[in-house]
């Protein structure tokens, strides 16, 4: 650990715990608390990654959680960020996106052919001739991308929690800590988050070789940590701002969705690199990065360095470097006037030579560009932003610290809808108009001096108190005074380029100039053409310089250029975190356990799981379905229909309500009778069908299809409100179980358990009565959907299993057999009953399915009636018919949705088709040309392979109707 220095107060590493890991096949040690980058840098490694496009060697840049040139794989995970991920014992790391290792990367040749790859080069070539493009595309795709995904990576289930608080403070720097304390002292419930391992923000690293920041930090942290009203979350970032103050906080173990009454964004600023040739060499880093290495990880950033600056901060960096034992051979200040403050005196007193009005013209690479060997310094004209290399000198160094300015970490503010303005005194975008309940403090708000930031935190905290209805003082914050923290144009032109603006995407100054030449001269187009800011760091270190460069190109002030839109996420967020546990809720009928034991295969129908069929050993699914259906035809079967929607309509206007809601007639319906009910939407399309039973003069009981039940009930409720009829509408879907016993022996089975007679005269087809089955009060309906003789037993859910078991016992002698939805579909087909949603689609009108009998146009009104009057004037384009294939059909079996053709014209399609053992035929439903609807008509179905199958229109039902015992 050659570059590790003595213990720093408040350092983030634990020197008691040593960890072993390897990088690119070489063994290293680290301390607990080290990031991958800090450990490798401490060990003297300089090349931590290769850039995305040119495969240039890269080291640390910001150490601020967005150094995306340093991405690792440990063989399990990939794209692990060096400055974010902590070293774990035994890690075996390699840099991603190299061929042959990070040092020998064979793709480094791309850097040497970079003149062939001008901005937007991939738009300009590879597409002619067309036939070669797939070759080039393959090459380009292979070259692109970062890490290799591990297909065996386990699915990770992260927890998600939701919390509510009065105040969410994002960023635990001096402003955020102060604001949180103000809020909590006044009794607010405060949540305080910070993305770093420890709270403190710049107080943890920006110390200027002194102890003031450290003592302020321990004072604030001491108060925050012991405060009952503050819940502090470190190593957790606010990933985005969503409507109504919803902010997901992402930590290692999951996401906390925070809903806050007020939010203070105190996220600080990102340091921005000045742009000069070879500013990307390993060893060239941001000043704040050098400070982070020193104070958080006790790592010496380099041995002999220079500081290039354009603000006050560079001098603080120099003092920190000196304190860490770095030889600072020069401080290059791009400003003509330099820094006129005690800081300058301090730096000079400590032996640092300050060159004002100068810039780093270029960094000099060491062998293989693996590091810095020196820097060429020359004068810089701030008025013209031109360097004068004729007047230059060279300094040897192994590192350069850069401090030229900042960009606000304002993504969350933008997402919340904040209007920003460009502030000339700080040369920074600052909030101009904040949305309701959103506040800001600290550097992101343009407050730079420590005192000023503390004040600004206090101001914001008090503003929140007033916003939440408490009385609180107005705090005045002094505006920024003195020289600007950011240089308005820290860009040094160089004829040989390689002066990088965006390190993610390897974008140089000339790329912007050339993009503008080609017409991409507004910020959004420039972003899209150059891809600036589109890399994994989303432009945290590059967008601001891009805006400045474009302003220069167009001769416009920065404010006129504007910014690109900030989108979530603030940091890239793992899919596993966002997905959480992924719940898949289902509704189950009371008999679900019984079906499971009986070997049911379940299928999803709407929100429900229903038994599709019951497995039998050594028999195929198709065979089982035929058997189940056959048992209904020949004796008796039983099916659980508990998932059907069941509604009750009560009171005097119930019939009137149903007359309006459904297409048929219900006013004339007799008590004890059921009627088919067709539901249309306002455009006359068939939406659902069901059965309406009249239990009493003023009580109706309705069953509707499972998958539509929720939507049907919803519409029922809405129309009820609009019509303002005096009825009671009750959803009893879950309250009742439903058992259907069907087949010639159904009466014998149900009759054994029924309190009342089931004779035709007592309960005719289509009748309903309230009776008892197996001692339980039920509603018993004589139905005919799947079988000529069948009973639906609507039984209170709690007693459904009891009744089901009793029926199974009673039916044992008849060989009663449960059947599932698959057999049910076949049985209804045999009976000639269409299924809405299966034999209809989103445009089907009643005339197309021959449902004229179910609509009463003579009623004063029903939903869809007015549209039907219009539709009725137009020719019907297709009609649903029953069909059969020839006896003993042995050709290619058509499938549902094979087309019905006349010559070369599509006339319709098959909607249902199946072989039925009962009729020993292939039967089905199809839409055909309206002229082909008469029984005996033939039509043509085109199969998958293109073969034509002739079908014959027949009259339903397809099976002989059994009389029943």
């Amino acid at each position: 650990m050659s570059n590790r220095i003595g213990k720093k107060p408040g350092e983030w590493i634990n020197r008691e715990a040593t960890l072993k890991f390897s990088y690119e096949g070489k063994d290293f040690t680290a301390y607990e608390g080290d990031t991958i980058s800090s450990a490798l840098w401490a060990a003297g490694e300089r090349v931590l990654g290769r850039s995305f496009k040119y495969h240039r060697p890269r080291g640390v840049l910001s150490s601020a959680n967005h150094d995306v040139n340093v991405m690792m794989t440990d063989g399990i995970d990939t794209n692990m960020r060096g400055d974010v991920v902590a070293v774990r014992d035994g890690m075996k790391l390699e840099a991603v996106n190299t061929v042959g290792g990070v040092k020998a990367d064979r793709n480094r040749f791309v850097d040497s052919i970079s003149p062939l790859l001008p901005v937007g080069f991939y738009y300009k070539a590879f597409h002619t001739p067309r036939r070669f493009f797939p070759f080039w595309e393959k090459m380009i795709r292979k070259a692109a991308g970062l890490g290799i995904v591990n297909f065996n990576f386990p699915r990770v289930l992260k927890r998600k929690t939701t919390t509510h608080c009065d105040l969410l403070v994002i960023g635990a720097g001096p402003a955020g800590l102060t604001a949180a304390l103000v809020g909590a002292d006044a009794g607010l419930e405060v949540t305080l988050v910070d993305e770093n391992q420890y709270a403190g923000g710049s107080l943890t690293y920006d110390r200027a070789g002194a102890s003031e920041a450290a003592s302020k930090l321990s004072e604030l942290i001491g108060r925050v940590k012991t405060h009952q009203g503050i819940s502090l979350h470190t190593a957790s970032y606010a990933a985005g701002y969503y409507t109504d103050h919803l902010i997901p906080i992402v930590g290692e173990n999951g996401i906390t969705k925070v809903r806050a009454k007020a939010v203070i964004v105190a996220t600080g600023v990102f340091e921005q690199p000045p742009v000069f040739r070879y500013n990307d060499l390993p060893g060239v880093m941001l000043g704040s990065s050098a400070q982070r290495l020193i104070h958080r990880y006790a790592v010496k950033p380099f041995h002999t360095g220079i500081v290039v600056t354009a603000n006050h901060h560079g001098y603080r960096v120099a003092l920190d470097l000196l304190q860490a034992g770095v030889k600072v051979s020069a401080l290059i200040d791009m400003r003509e006037l330099g820094e006129v403050s005690v800081l300058e005196e301090d730096v000079v007193r400590k032996g640092v030579v300050v060159h004002k009005g100068c810039c780093v013209y270029e960094a000099l690479p060491s062998k293989g560009q693996m590091g810095v060997a020196g820097a060429v310094i020359c004068t810089y004209d701030e008025a013209t932003n031109q360097a004068n290399p004729s007047n230059s000198f060279t300094l040897e160094c192994d590192g350069i610290a850069m401090s030229a300015g900042w960009a606000p970490a304002a993504a969350l503010l933008y997402q919340a809808g904040t209007q920003m303005r460009y502030d000339d005194t700080t040369q920074q975008f600052v909030p101009a108009k904040l949305p309701q309940g959103v506040f800001t403090a600290g550097k992101v708000n343009g407050a730079f001096a420590l005192e000023q930031r503390l004040q600004d935190g206090e101001r914001a905290g008090n503003e929140v108190l007033r916003y939440l209805g408490k009385s609180a003082p107005e705090v005045n914050v002094e505006r920024h005074a003195g020289s600007s923290p950011s240089h308005p144009y820290p860009i040094v032109p160089h004829p040989k380029a390689k002066n990088f603006v965006d390190f993610d995407e390897d974008i140089q100054v000339k790329d912007f100039v050339n993009a503008a030449k080609e017409g991409f001269d507004n910020i959004e187009l420039m972003k899209r053409f150059t891809t600036v800011g589109m890399g994994p760091s989303q432009g945290k270190h590059s967008n601001m310089n891009a805006i400045r460069i474009l302003g220069k190109i167009r001769g416009l002030p920065v404010e006129k250029i504007g910014t690109t839109t900030a989108r979530p996420f603030f940091h890239p967020t793992p899919i596993g975190h966002l997905a959480g546990r992924g719940f898949h809720p289902h509704r189950l009928t009371p008999m679900h356990g019984w079906h499971e034991e009986a070997g049911a295969e379940f299928t999803e129908v709407g929100a429900w799981l229903r038994a599709a069929y019951y497995h039998k050993p050594d028999i195929s699914k198709q065979e089982v379905i035929q058997e189940e259906a056959l048992s209904v035809r020949q004796s008796v079967g039983i099916i659980d229909g508990g998932s059907l929607g069941k509604f009750e309509v009560h009171c005097a206007e119930a019939a009137e309500y149903l007359e309006r809601f459904y297409a048929g007639k219900f006013a004339s319906q007799a008590v004890g009778e059921t009627r088919y009910a067709l539901m249309l939407d306002e455009s006359g399309v068939v939406v659902d069908d069901g059965v309406v039973a009249r239990l009493a003069q003023d009580v109706f009981y309705i069953t509707v299809s499972t998958s539509n039940a929720a939507a049907v009930y919803r519409e029922m409720q809405r129309w009820l409100q609009i019509w303002k009829l005096q009825i009671g509408l009750i959803n009893v879907t879950g309250a009742y179980g439903l058992i259907n016993v069907a087949g010639p022996n159904a009466r014998a089975v149900v009759g054994k358990l029924a309190k009342h007679s089931l004779a035709d005269s007592d309960l005719p087809k289509g009748g309903i009565r309230e009776t008892e089955i197996a001692g339980i009060a039920v509603r018993l309906v004589r139905v005919g959907f799947v079988s000529n003789l069948a009973y639906e037993i609507h039984v209170p859910a709690g007693s459904a299993v009891h009744v089901w078991n009793a029926l199974m016992d009673a039916g044992a002698n008849f060989g009663i057999r449960p059947f599932g939805t698959d057999a049910q579909r076949l049985l209804r087909l045999e009976m000639g009953n269409h299924l809405v949603g299966h034999d209809t689609d989103g445009l089907t009108n009643p005339y197309e399915i021959g449902a004229e009998w179910a609509i009463s146009m003579d009623k004063p009104f029903f939903v869809g009636q007015r549209s039907l009057k219009i539709i009725a004037k137009r020719p019907v384009k297709k009609r649903l018919v029953h069909f059969m294939l020839e006896e003993g059909f042995s050709g290619e079996m058509p499938f549902e949705c094979n087309l019905v053709m006349i010559q070369d014209e599509i006339k319709g399609r098959v909607t249902s088709i199946s072989f039925t053992r009962s009729a020993n035929r292939v039967i089905g439903f199809a839409y055909v040309d309206p002229k082909d609807v008469d029984p005996g008509s033939k039509f043509q179905i085109r199969t998958d392979s293109g073969a034509i199958v002739v079908a014959t229109v027949v009259k339903a039902p397809f099976v002989k109707l059994e009389r029943g015992a």
């Binding site: 985005g240 507004n522 053409f529 006359g684 689609d841 989103g842 445009l843 949705c897």
Partner: protein, 413 residues
Amino acid sequence: MPLRLLKFAFSKNHPAPRFFRALEQPKKSYDVVIIGGGGHGLAAAYYLAKDHGITNVAVLERGYIGGGNTGRNTTIVRSNYLTPEGVNFYDASVKIYEGLSEELDLNLFYSNRGHFTLAHTESAMRTMRWRAEVNKHVGVESRVVGPDEIAKACPQLDLSCSGHAPILGALYHAPGSIARHDGVAWGYARGADRQGAEIFQNTEVTGIDVQSGKVAGVHTSRGYIATKKVLSAVAGFTPRVTKMVDLDTPIVIHPLQACVTEPMKPWLNSILVSGSLHVYVSQSSRGELVMGSSLDPYEVHSTRSSLDFVEGLTSHMLDMFPFLSNVKIVRQWAGMADMTPDFAPIMGKTPVEGFYLDAGWGTWGFKATPISGKTMAETIANDRAPEMIHSFRLSRFEDYELTGEKGAASVGH
């Protein structure tokens, strides 16, 4: 390396001209004014010039070109629709796309990947067959495939979808492709500009001057422009523009969101869509997974993002690809989709003479960019819509002749 890049290496000045002129002030009048500088509007300008010799055309863009849904969509191009009219129309678009990089001399990265619409239910399988049969009938390569073929094309896919929604099969559509969306707008812009059309960015239309039922001009943030023909090609802004001419349409605006991961080495070649899981995904040439889901459930005229969207989408992505747990989402965004009741566009003439509508593109606008530009140019030039877009006419709603695309979208699952 292609030779055409050499000039960049050996030239001191960047040897590439502007894509389009930087124009500030429109003329007093034009033969045609196109509202909307997205792919559709620019393509219409391009084909007006190329096919019909009409070059006295202004394209007015409120923001920057391609900045609306052209630059926000997930770039899938396909023609596996349900109705013969729809399939024909989108197939014509695919055919133009296939040669478009050459025609515009701009590499649009039109990348033929093959497109699978996954079916997790019997009912979805039926719809797949319906589409396949209609596609085959029209001569488009689509077919129903089983899980084996899906697994062959995408071995990483968990066919059981973590046990929640086992894949029964898919509609495979061979021509399915992705492209670089920005390039399509830029290429058409350059092509239109070179033929004489004038493109004005940051130019907002504030009103349309209609006199005696006929278009007379447009009011803009850069002054009044006289014209007898106006094309509205503004996607999510359509209701605002139709309001200017008092035209009622069925269009409502719902946000459509998307997101993208950080880049990774190529592994996903196919384009996958799952209706049941509300996921569509492809891997871009940069290596990012580009993903989308269903529309937001309610009307909003903004491009804000929501957390629900990305939570739901990622959950379903993990059902399909459990190993993506630690792959990171970099960015999410949204566009405003102009939805129609039958999931088909509204194109052609309107009751206002000289006001042409290219709208209702919902979630399927990008793939139709070339053919919509071509057919709208023809409509404007002849003041008569070609047969190909007859079924997309605005009056179909009054006629109760909604397109059949609604059929498939509403079949119960």
